[in-house]
């Protein structure tokens, strides 16, 4: 997501830097310059802070569940009551037949905020599970999948791009066609197909065994389908860089392929990689939510923000909080990552046009 900002992101000139420092001109590393630009972007920093807060809250899911809510993320409380302002309240309303009369039930209790001593702060779901606890555990799972898949995806894309871009020729052709092949499929459809297939029986090939309910499945599926979205632009940058004089110089000095790739090319695309990484986390969290909503991502009873929305959709009229609260969590997280990612891109290289495009 691109954002408009009124902050001045123009490159610092040497004179400006000197004036700013009030002394002699000193050499500054690109990273320091980037940090100087980033720290002036208060919007990006604000959203980074929001993301950090979300991450910290999710990391505190266990202590919150144990010490505040007093229940686990998958513990149902059907048929139970809790105390609110000294009165007993049903977690899920009772219904059924009394004599010949039918009473509709099954309506979970709504958000209690702090009126019930930390229980059901965001209400309960249809199985009487604490939504706030599931929201935090769900966030933890969504973040694990989002960040984990971003790491794996970026790493594979980077290595493939380096190899393709540096060696060129048939190696480049094979890797480029691999990117094209994955690119040819609509991302979500490919992810759904893989996620559904793997979520039934897991993955048990090539000496690797992943059980069907494992978080590794959505993590790896999302990593795989998004590789070309990072790999292709990076490959393009490397193809351009390898023609530069410094590569020629390194080669002339006897540097081997691996050294050129990792000591010469990698530092020159590191800023792009970093920006891609920040942006793809947001993208992956959204993809995970979509997959889980459709039943092809995180598997029940484990929560994720996507599964929480799916669980809540059938109760949108009588218990709208079930879908709305995790929806808000996704929006805030993705917004924070995208705005920070844009800020990071502007800071690292204001001329760059790094985007995650589908």
């Amino acid at each position: 997501m691109a954002t408009e900002s009124t902050t001045d992101f123009s490159l610092d000139s040497a004179a400006a830097l000197a004036a700013d420092e009030g002394g002699a001109i000193e050499g500054k590393s690109p990273w320091l310059l980037a940090w100087r630009r980033l720290r002036r972007n208060y919007v990006a920093l604000g959203f980074l802070a929001l993301f950090v807060v979300i991450v910290v809250m999710c990391l505190l899911a266990g202590p919150y569940a144990h010490h505040v809510a007093g229940t686990g993320p998958n513990d149902n409380h059907l048929g139970e009551t809790f105390t609110r302002d000294g009165k007993q309240v049903e977690v899920v309303s009772k219904g059924g037949f009394t004599g010949g009369t039918f009473k509709a039930g099954g309506i979970p209790v709504g958000p209690q905020l702090w009126h019930a001593g930390g229980k059901y702060v965001f209400g309960a779901d249809t199985q009487g599970r604490d939504v706030a606890v599931r929201l935090l555990y769900g966030g933890l799972n969504s973040l694990k999948v989002g960040i984990g898949s971003a790491l794996i995806c970026t790493l594979f894309a980077l290595v493939l791009a380096l190899i393709a871009g540096y060696y060129g020729g048939w190696v480049d052709w094979v890797i480029a066609r691999f990117f094209d092949l994955i690119w040819a499929f609509p991302v979500l459809l490919l992810a759904i197909a893989l996620g559904t297939a793997l979520s039934i029986n897991g993955f048990h090939h090539f000496g690797i065994s992943i059980q069907s309910g494992s978080l590794w499945i959505p993590t790896l599926v999302i990593s795989y389908v998004l590789i070309p979205y990072i790999g292709r632009p990076l490959r393009g940058q490397i193809l351009s860089l390898r023609e530069k004089e410094f590569i020629e110089a390194a080669t002339a000095q006897g540097a081997g392929g691996v050294r050129v790739m990792f000591s010469e090319l990698l530092p020159n695309i590191a800023s792009s990689v970093l920006v891609f990484f920040a942006l793809i986390i947001a993208n992956n969290i959204l993809t995970e939510a979509g997959l889980s909503f459709l039943g092809a991502g995180v598997q029940p009873p484990n929560p994720s923000w996507g599964t929480l929305i799916a669980d809540g959709q059938s109760r949108i009229q009588t218990a709208p909080w079930l879908a709305i609260i995790p929806g808000i969590a996704i929006v805030l997280t993705v917004l924070a990552l995208n705005i920070f990612g844009d800020g990071l891109r502007d800071a690292l290289d204001p001329r760059a046009k790094v985007r995650i495009e589908h």
């Binding site: 998958n74 513990d75 149902n76 059907l78 048929g79 899920v92 309303s93 009772k94 219904g95 059924g96 037949f97 039918f102 009473k103 509709a104 039930g105 099954g106 309506i107 979970p108 249809t126 199985q127 009487g128 039934i200 059980q211 069907s212 309910g213 039943g295 598997q299 029940p300 009873p301 669980d311 059938s314 109760r315 949108i316 009229q317 009588t318």
Partner: protein, 557 residues
Amino acid sequence: MKRRLKLLRPVGAVALLAALALLAAGCGGGGKKSSSGGSNAGSSGKTYPLLRVVWDAPDYMDPALYYTVAAYQLTNYVWTGLMGYKHESGPAGAQLVPYLAASEPTISADGKDYKFTLRKGLKYSDGTAVKASDFRYAIERDFKMDSPGVGFYSDIQGVSGASGFATTKKGHISGIIPDDSAGTIEIKLDNPRGDFLYILALEFSDFVPSGTPASDQSTKPIPATGPYMVQSYTPSRSFTIVRNPHYNNQIPTMPSGNPDKVVGKIITDPVAAYQQVVSGQSDYEFQPVPNDRLPEAQSKYKDQLRIYTNANTYYFALNNAIPPFNNIKARKAVQYALDPNAIISGIYGGLGRPTQNFLPPGYPQYKKINAWSFDLAKAKQLVQQSGTNGQSVDVYGPNEDPSKSTTEYLANQLTKIGYKPKLHLLSHQVYFQTIGNQATKAQAMFTDWYQDYPHPLDWFDVLLNGQRITKTHNNNVGNVKVPAVDKEIDALAKEPQVTPAVNDRWAKVDRDLMVTYATTVPYMNKSSTDFFGPKIDMSCYTFGVVTYWDYGLSCMK
């Protein structure tokens, strides 16, 4: 014998019945209100031009293939067999009456020989005459098409064995002897079956013209013998059912129907289906009112809503053949660990009645069991005593609600009593096939059963007889095998008459399997809803225990 579940979601079936009932209401104006929802064989004088319904998707519209309530409820007025059910509300609706047969059959003393005579002058909707040999053709067509109902006919002479028709699919079934000139049909059985007349009332026994292709004819409607015929059917979209022009009240034991025409939209989403009726675009919805909308329907549309509980049982199957549930204490622990009232109230919005019987209420063989109470402490104690504490349990269920939430509830309760459950939620399309395969090694499973016909054999013989366990397509998914009870089921299968003594023996089978051996965990008889538009005259509402809402007997205000 291989049978499939009739319907996982009964609501859909109910809606289909409603549509049929409306269709059957036939031509004419608004008509008069009926004084009751009782028997209305023949013309009722309440005909009306059009019934608009929203229906669940039928699996097929071919009597050899369909096996869902959605299809059955629609077409029980279209294709008929020798026997059928009385179109009446309440227990009377479970009574068999001759449809194409002129009268009840003559049955030999040993219960192995049935002789029927067809009614005179029977015709299909295309005007051709109905022949006795059409019945044999229909059964043989079932086998040629690998119909899901072929298992019901395994006791007819010439069907089973290496040279039987089920294997060779050549020649004719020797145990079915039709005489076209006399209009008689003789059926010889290898073994007597107390439920054979019910089997002859199944859709797989419906007459089709000889020469009907032995392939799915859903979109090329087969000529009908009932008061209605399928005019058009577009899978997943729509259907139109109209009066059979050659019917001439040829089956006086069934109503000729009130609606002249039934036009159906196929909508599988219950919320969308509900909205169709609320917005006035439909007179009936087959799907159950979603739990989310039930309070609204109860308060705003109380007069248009009917809640019913038909013959079904929802139960958790525990794999009796492998640990931990090959241990009776472990199985008893699960009985104590579950709170049926909590499941019904929370997950099903109250639409259900708790049960500990396998057989549903309403059967003359039903004797209420009250052996278990929700007691987690006792359940934990039993798990400890069984020595199975801490074992992992593969729990299987469908991935759609409310089945999904019910399975999650089971898994959570197993956690609470000391097991380590692993949840496997699968698509409906593959669910029963998967748990019915021994290779899956499912240990605890969500499942349910809706009767094919109102006889205990359709429950105990199909679902819990240890001699019916198969490697694949296993209906006895819990691998329940209690030899003494199996022997009793086999003996009861041969009882030609349902006497009070026989009923008591069936009740004991129920108690033995559910309590003494605690083989299975029944928890609910699911209730469902029929929801109608404001034009429908609810005084005509008729609900058959087998046929669900009877659209043929519906009428308009």
